[in-house]
């Protein structure tokens, strides 16, 4: 029988190949061998995301390959938490993400969500075409550590500038606001009244690691 370390390597390899069927089979093998879901998240999914981050940094971001890995990650998460349990409930940070009112594109947002989930963060998706007040309410309700915004079209810039004030109405002016996407990454944090403009999903994830990565994850099954 394959050892747990070898099986974990199989999981990482199949994830990076975007082989979602193979990734689920490797996950089943690990569970049968006694690995916990948390160990599979940290030893498999997060490792794969780290390696993907390195690859994308070296060879430039490539949406198709990211999507294939994301599909495999989602399949593994569904296998590990079939009841839809929160992958990262006990983890280091909790974020709320949206595209703002007027912007109906959500592929970029979905990629960021998958990358962060694969790293063990908790992400609440407030959806696309989301009013600023709805996003702020979601951040309050979820006890978010940061607010993330993806934007593909330039017309959402005025909405982005409103987010800080909307958070302040709820006593959340201190929350970091991190934005990205084709339109927003052309701008600066000062101009958008946000804390960080990410150049891609991995850049955003690295910034969140810098902000919250020092927090210890709670012990979990």
């Amino acid at each position: 029988m394959t050892s747990v370390p070898d099986a974990m390597d199989d999981l990482v390899r199949t994830l990076l190949a975007g082989d979602h069927g193979g990734a689920v089979r490797a996950t089943d093998h690990l569970l049968a061998g006694g690995a916990t879901p948390r160990a599979i998240v940290t030893g498999g999914l997060q490792r794969a995301m780290d390696l993907l981050d390195e690859k994308c940094t070296l060879e430039a971001f490539n949406l198709l390959e990211i999507m294939l890995v994301g599909r495999a990650v989602s399949a593994v998460v569904a296998r590990l938490f079939p009841q839809g349990g929160d992958l990262a409930a006990p983890a280091r940070g909790r974020f709320v993400i949206a595209t703002l009112e007027g912007d109906v594109h959500d592929l970029g947002k979905n990629i960021v969500r998958t990358v962060l989930m694969g790293r063990g963060w908790s992400v609440t998706d407030a959806g696309k075409d989301c009013p600023v007040a709805t996003l702020a309410t979601a951040a309050e309700r979820e006890g978010a550590d940061a607010v993330l915004i993806s934007g593909l079209i330039t017309s959402v810039v005025p909405r982005v500038r409103e987010v800080r004030a909307e958070l302040a109405k709820r006593g959340l002016a201190h929350l970091p606001i991190i934005v990205g996407g084709a339109a927003l990454r052309q701008s600066s944090p000062e101009d958008l009244n946000v804390d960080y403009v990410a150049q891609d999903a991995f850049d955003g994830a690295r910034h969140l690691e810098r902000l919250f990565g020092h927090r210890p994850a709670e012990a979990t099954p």
Partner: protein, 338 residues
């Protein structure tokens, strides 16, 4: 030289009398004229009126017979919707990935959806500007239209999971582009710009571009040439440096490059191409005119040899851009702002 002659000379890398300027002014022409974008996007006559007014106002070198990126897919049965002041987006794609793409006929540009409005706009533009400005039509590139026909995520998964089926989808998109573009040329366009953002290197791996997209771009451009196109133009937004070296072999004369691509690197990657770019689109919304002038000056310095370069925005000038920013670009180009 008039604008048309200037662009054609630049495309052929011949000397020009002054810097050619061809900003992607689409819906901005409606905003400039005080016309609701939704009205503009459904009325070819209004498109022609607003485009001519913008051309006279700014003094750039081309007019665009183009509505929005959803025209083809809407003509093929997609359900579309638009937020106020925004371009339409596809709510429901016309096909699923298991459709028999080989059995689908391209839509008739004379009758399908808003395609006739585009043809009407082109006819009126040609009549209005005669040969003084380049009259540009537009078709969606094969990878971009394929993404609209089944959904972006679905099309990319299809490319990975079933390359043969994806190739049939691309063939359908190619046939649509050939037929629609030829109709635009017959209506009086000088060329049909191929708008292909999904071919960006941030979306598709290079191998998918060279193996699947490039041959179909070659097919489309050859068909356009047979239909009378006076030159050719490919626009891929975002990262394009890895694919720029392949443009010339596809028959591209003018290649756009977006703000995120260094002009020096672009020239090195495609030494025989006429490059068209690359002022940051959002600058036209958020930066003062002086910043636009600084960007133009830096770009002109980078393209110092002067041949085979057309000043433009890296992608579309946002419709909501204040007109003084576009005027600043014209002035910095030595074009006097109209």
């Amino acid at each position: 030289m008039n604008g048309r002659q200037r662009i054609l000379a630049a495309a052929a890398r011949r000397p020009v009398d002054m810097l050619p300027v061809m900003p992607q002014i689409f819906g901005h022409a409606a905003v400039l004229a005080g016309i609701p974008l939704a009205d503009y996007l459904g009325d070819g006559e209004l498109v022609a009126t607003c485009q001519v007014a913008a051309w006279r106002h700014y003094g750039h070198d081309a007019v665009f017979g183009f509505l929005d990126a959803a025209v083809e897919t809407e003509a093929m049965g997609a359900e579309i919707a638009a937020k106020p002041g925004c371009y339409p987006h596809v709510v429901r794609s016309p096909f699923t990935v298991d459709a028999d793409f080989a059995a689908v006929a391209p839509p008739d540009p004379v009758a399908a959806g808003r395609m006739p409005e585009v043809l009407q706009a082109i006819r009126l533009l040609r009549a209005a500007v005669a040969d003084e400005a380049l009259v540009v039509g537009c078709v969606q590139g094969p990878a971009t239209l394929a993404a609209q026909l089944v959904g972006l995520e679905q099309s990319l998964f299809l490319a990975a999971d079933d390359p043969a089926a994806y190739a049939r989808l691309l063939d359908l998109a190619t046939a649509v582009g050939v037929r629609y573009g030829a109709a635009q040329l017959t209506a009086g366009a000088d060329l049909a710009l191929i708008f292909e953002p999904v071919a960006s290197s941030t979306v598709l791996p290079l191998s998918k571009f060279t193996d699947l997209v490039l041959p179909r771009l070659r097919t489309i451009l050859a068909a356009f040439q047979r239909a009378g196109a006076v030159t050719s133009w490919l626009h891929v937004a975002g990262a394009s440096l890895p694919i720029l070296p392949f443009y010339s072999e596809a028959g591209v004369a003018i290649g756009s490059f977006d703000y995120c691509v260094s002009p020096i690197a672009a020239r090195r990657a495609a030494p025989t191409l006429c490059l068209c770019g690359n002022i940051k689109p959002l600058s036209f919304v958020i930066d003062p005119p002086a910043e636009i002038e600084r960007e133009v000056a830096a770009l002109r310095a980078a393209m110092a040899d002067g041949s085979g370069f057309i000043l433009s925005s890296g992608c579309e000038i946002p419709p909501e851009a204040p007109p003084d920013r576009v005027m600043a670009m014209m002035a910095a180009a030595g074009r006097g702002g109209g």
